[in-house]
Symmetry: C2
Subunit: 442 residues, 2 copies
């Protein structure tokens, strides 16, 4: 270092993706004065663990999202660009985005995952997933429109299909979605209709493994299943989906094939690397796993490219303790902060210790008042689980105003059993078009 203090402002860090990992890396680097550019195609940070509540009408999108610029405004060396990154030149250290190029000394890629339909891309149109605000609003549109159309229908078979909901995949998202729909049908909407009884709604949760929440300990799976059944959800484990179309699903369970007519099918079954992750693997030749996640080294950098880090659920890593780091928000936050430390350590000429994931446990919520949690020292279910879940989520919402809004929404919901944001948005049927159709038909 020749007695010169390293100048962090001369080290250009580009971060692709402003989710939990990218945002926390930017904060730590901004605190240290690094010249950071965070690039994201969206202008907000999304609290994805609560997205299912947007889909089921409890929260508004704005309740769980904050402008990335606001979150980083206090760090003058951090610049935020809203643009889609689509390529990189790993040799020249250039990132390409829709409006130009960015040179970097260090690159942090945190672009996450998208849905995986396991090669059945035709299913996508009939079974939307839940990764973005638009996905959540599309799910909401389908769920509430199904009840509206059932109220209008006079054909019992059609009505039954409209009042049948299938959730594919019983990980935390699938369990939470199915529980929230069960609660809508059996509690929130009970008095809202005249021609239908929402309590006759069927909610089916299909899971290929032998139990719900397969990565949780067995007793919590059993508790989750019990809670779901109390909300009127039918849980089918060991069930493999064979086909999904506009009419419903076909699945196989214990050798028996069943066709179920259901107008609303929701997908919570699998993820794979984001597009930018694919490009990165192609450009660097780094190994990927079956889901396209990039195999990173002990310091979260790519083999052969120590200046490129991959963090969050796009990275595949067995940490210093030998455990696979899970694709969860706390892991992404820890990796973001860790990588900021690695960059600073290198800059100071020091070696960085390998990444070590601190597992604080995981939880899933099933309707009002029911949750299951697998914490480090204790397992909780039922009401205690729910309160703990609510507390943990509220505390981890990034911003004070957001906490207050979600608190108001939940408090209100808790007291009144009415949900907070059930707007169906998107253009409704145009009457001019209807007139044209009917006139032409007549």
């Amino acid at each position: 270092m020749d007695g010169l203090k390293p100048d962090p402002g001369a080290h250009r860090v580009v971060i692709v993706g402003g989710g939990f990992g990218g945002l926390h890396a930017a904060r730590r680097l901004g605190q240290r004065g690094y010249a950071v550019t965070l690039i994201d195609k969206r202008n907000f940070q999304l609290f994805q663990p609560l997205l299912y509540q947007v889909a089921t009408g409890s929260l508004a999108p704005g309740d769980i999202a904050i402008p990335t610029r606001s979150l980083l405004r206090r760090y003058p060396s951090v610049r935020v660009l809203q643009a889609t990154a689509y390529d990189l030149d790993a040799g020249q250290r250039k990132l390409r985005h829709e409006h130009g190029e960015l040179d970097y000394d260090s690159l942090i890629v945190a672009t996450g995952v998208k849905h995986n339909y396991f090669g059945k891309d035709g299913w996508r149109a009939h079974a939307p997933g839940l990764k973005t605000v638009e996905h959540a609003l599309e799910m909401r549109r389908r769920i509430f429109n199904a009840f509206e159309l059932a109220e209008l229908s006079t054909d019992p078979a059609e009505r039954a299909a409209l009042m049948s909901f299938v959730v594919v995949g019983a990980g935390p998202t699938g369990v939470e979605l199915a529980g929230a729909i069960g609660e809508l049908a059996h509690k929130t909407l009970v008095r809202d209709f005249r021609a239908i009884d929402p309590r006759q709604t069927r909610v089916l949760l299909l899971e290929g493994a032998s139990r719900v929440l397969p990565v949780y300990p067995e007793p919590l799976s059993a508790a989750a299943r019990r809670h779901l059944e109390q909300l009127g959800v039918t849980v089918l484990t060991g069930a493999l989906v064979q086909a999904i179309d506009a009419d419903g699903v076909r699945y196989q369970q214990a050798g028996v094939v069943t066709e179920l007519r259901a107008r609303t099918v929701l997908w919570a079954a699998g993820v794979r690397a984001s597009l930018f992750g694919e490009v990165l693997a192609e450009r660097t030749g780094v190994a990927v796993d079956r889901s396209g996640r990039l195999q990173v080294g002990a310091d979260c950098s790519l083999p052969g490219h120590p200046e490129i880090f991959v963090i969050g659920d796009l990275a595949r890593l067995a940490d210093a303790a030998g455990r696979d780091v899970p694709g969860l928000a706390p892991a992404a936050i820890q990796q973001g902060e860790y990588v900021a430390g690695v960059i600073a350590a290198r800059h100071a000429g020091k070696a960085a210790r390998p990444f070590r994931y601190r597992d604080r446990g995981s939880m899933a919520v099933i309707g009002m008042n029911k949750a299951v949690g697998d914490l480090r020292h204790v397992r909780v279910t039922g009401l205690v689980g729910w309160w703990l879940w609510a507390f943990v989520h509220l505390m981890s919402l990034v911003d004070g105003a957001q906490r207050l809004r979600v608190f108001v929404q939940w408090g209100w919901k808790y007291c009144t059993r009415r949900t907070g944001d059930r707007l169906i948005t998107g253009q409704p049927t145009d009457s001019r078009r209807l007139r044209g159709e009917r006139l032409a038909a007549g």
Copy 2:
């Protein structure tokens, strides 16, 4: 009546449109036990006077909208259908909607107005208006995207065009929109960018008449103009728009024609009858005014069709005191309640008194802390005006939870000068498409 008590449940009332007028008619009729069907293409009631705050990122759509079903759930004789009505047979007393027909004994039409581009329908794509949630989100997308693109741009002329905003029309909506954009630029966003200074934003408010808020008393217009200018808004009165395209606007003022490059142009200049209003006029032969509003009788019914009522801003009516009833929420509410009373009076064999509009005054808000109000006995401006405005609006939000949410949002904004919901939604640029484009171009 031959000693028989009239049975309200046997009198079928169909209400088209669930805005202020339709909703209040349904409530009053539901209280009396009438068999009401309210049909609306949307599933929610929208508090339109605050829509500009959704467009400028202060409120979420769910903050100012409530499911119509929830609002009417306590009236068992009221049924809500989500469907688009497109025609009627006035002789057979049948309403046609996208899923079937409804027979009625009384029909209440409250489908409101849409934008009027005065024959220049090509302007619509370049200057969106503000009547629906989708409009508000589109405006929001344009406003915040313009700042994002300005931050990315390196061309000074392009940057200036991106940071120029034009609002056409200085009625309450135009004044409130321009004030809110001025406030965004000069207060809320000041610290959020690195390459641009949001305080250099130009906000232009164009009005054809000789003053802003032309229907308000003169001193309030002057106060509103002063408040707007304090927020950096340039007010041009006597200015006539000649052209609007993707590059900006051309307008004439005092014989001088000016072309202004502006990437964001917003329309708040005029309204005309909704499509269903046009159909109704065609089917009944009732006279319409220049905006397509239907001329109704003293009891809000159509000449020649006493069983059909038109209320809200779709109706044209000089009331019992000889004044034109304005197209405002309080007038629609009063008409909805009045018409419910007319139906009940007829049913009891009594005559109804003509409709009389009770004018409680009107207000407009210009940014934080500034509003002008023309109440019956007092005119207010500045801070007093703002507090009164906030109180009046909060009190008239239909639902307790909504009041609480808006209160939280405003309170937070007031304390921190940060806005509540600045999400840009809709699909961002797809990186696969970008790669395809660049690869093909290379």
